[in-house]
Amino acid sequence: MSEVKFSKEHEWITIDGEVATIGITKHATEMLGDIVFTELPEKGSSVEKDGTAGVVESTKAASDVYTPISGEVVDTNQSIVDDPSKINSDPEGSAWFFKLKIKDKSEIDSLMNRSEYEKFAKESAS
């Protein structure tokens, strides 16, 4: 399993061979508040880098979830649809959103590592 990478839209991504796992960061969940609804992309569908690939809603508002890389959706996490509060309790672990068969590995290069992301998140929050 590779090092975790981060996007400016507050998604995290890990790579295992040809497959990437994507979710939203702890920082994102703290900004959103209690998550009460999740919509995931359809299995088998193709998603494009920086395109929408789901929705999360708090009691206050709806927010799009973007995919940091392109690929084909090979799996989605039904447990966060059944119980969206799992995203608040374990955002960077069991509450992953979807898995992609990676289309172009070079797209990963532009993403941030953890220390870069933490700096980015801190600056964008202030």
Binding site: G33, E57, T59, K60
Partner: protein, 370 residues
């Protein structure tokens, strides 16, 4: 314009509030535990809401004032006994709502609680209509705190003995640390509770005691989910200057013996009562988990646009999405199947009865529906 703070700002901060600007005030949207926990705590125990941003308008006068106010409000004030409250509206000549408000008859006149975003405009309208014959003032020296929930009466009774004797929509003066405070049994959460009007200098110590007795501070976020579950309107969303009380399905708040009298919009109100309205506010229960937010378009079975959502969220006690909106009259009966357009998809929903969440108020007057 400088953003204002209420007298409880420091206490909010100390309790980990996240702030938002609301109606020109820095107000807590939530505290550390979050909206859902705050919502549930209010339903199960009791919650404290800082509503000091709302306007506390006092108008001094006797019977002549009552007569003048009846020219402004569609409410029977002549027969309103002392310390009793009524929900009412400030309307324009087209029966559109400038504000929804609570009028209480007090010793030397009337106290009217106004929405924060409307209070300055309301004041101008009322002042002009009263034509300088009466002294009126929005009391910036007073804070307003709501204590809501099934345990509210026990928490308050420890500090203010006798407060539990108040009936729903009744008020009275009490003493707290040698100062006079005014308490009404009312609120906007669908729970039993109180609203306490208290001097700015004492409000923090008052709330600290409520906290010590097991109550918790609740932000505007949970206030919104609580009031929507209770089927209550939020001004600026469910009510505005283009919507009449009849369209808002709030006919019960127009006093029956005032329907034929003259007040702003009275001819339209009478016409709408006699002939019906084209659109009306209804409760909406989506069939899926998808939340339909404000401005979501509503369609009928034949894909005809019939209205839009004015409030929509996830109801933490209902455990699902809930909404209110306006639909054409022919689609307003209970269980009518409607469709909500969310992110390009039509979500099936049903017109439903309000409130979504029902609890018994302390008897005195059933004000919720009639």
């Amino acid at each position: 314009m400088k953003v204002k703070k209420t007298s409880l700002f420091n206490l909010h901060q100390k309790n980990g509030a996240k702030f938002v600007e609301f109606a020109g005030y820095q107000m807590p949207i939530q505290y550390k535990e979050g909206i859902i926990e705050e919502h549930k705590y209010t339903r199960a125990h009791s919650g404290i809401f800082d509503v000091s941003h709302m306007g506390q308008l006092f108008i001094i006068g006797g019977d002549d004032l009552t007569k003048e106010l009846e020219k402004i409000f569609p409410t029977d004030l002549t027969n309103l006994s002392i310390n009793k409250s009524k929900y009412s509206f400030l309307m324009n000549d087209n029966a559109g709502i400038h504000d929804d408000l609570i009028i209480t008859k007090v010793d030397n006149g009337f106290m009217i609680i106004l929405n924060a975003a409307c209070k300055e405009n309301d004041f101008k309208i009322i002042e002009k209509k009263l034509d300088k014959k009466f002294d009126l003032k929005i009391r910036e020296d007073l804070s307003l705190v709501a204590l809501q929930g099934p345990e509210a009466k026990h928490v308050l009774e420890k500090i203010i003995p006798q407060s539990n004797n108040l009936k729903f929509m009744h008020g009275n003066s009490f003493t707290f640390e040698d100062i006079n405070i005014y308490i009404t049994r009312s609120g906007y959460t669908g729970e039993d509770g109180f609203e306490i009007s208290i001097d700015n200098s004492k409000v923090e110590s008052f709330v600290e005691i409520l906290l010590k007795n097991g109550s918790k501070l609740i932000g505007l976020g949970a206030r919104d989910t609580l009031r929507l579950e209770a089927g209550l309107c939020l001004y600026g969303h469910d009510l505005n200057e283009k919507i009449s009380p009849i369209e808002a399905n709030l006919k019960w708040a127009i006093s029956k013996n005032r329907i034929n009298s003259s007040f702003p919009g009275s001819s339209i109100i009478k016409k709408q009562i006699d002939e019906g309205v084209k659109k009306i506010r209804v409760g909406i229960k989506p069939e899926t988990k998808v939340i339909a937010r404000e401005k979501t378009k509503i369609f009928d079975q034949n894909d005809k646009l019939i209205g839009s959502v004015t409030s929509g969220t996830f109801g933490p006690s209902v455990q699902g999405p809930i909404a209110m909106g306006y639909v054409t009259n022919d689609c307003s009966s209970l269980n009518t199947k409607i469709y909500l357009e969310v992110r390009g998809k039509k979500i099936p929903a049903n017109v439903c009865d309000l409130p979504f969440y029902k609890k018994n108020y302390v008897k005195g007057e059933i004000n919720v529906r009639s």
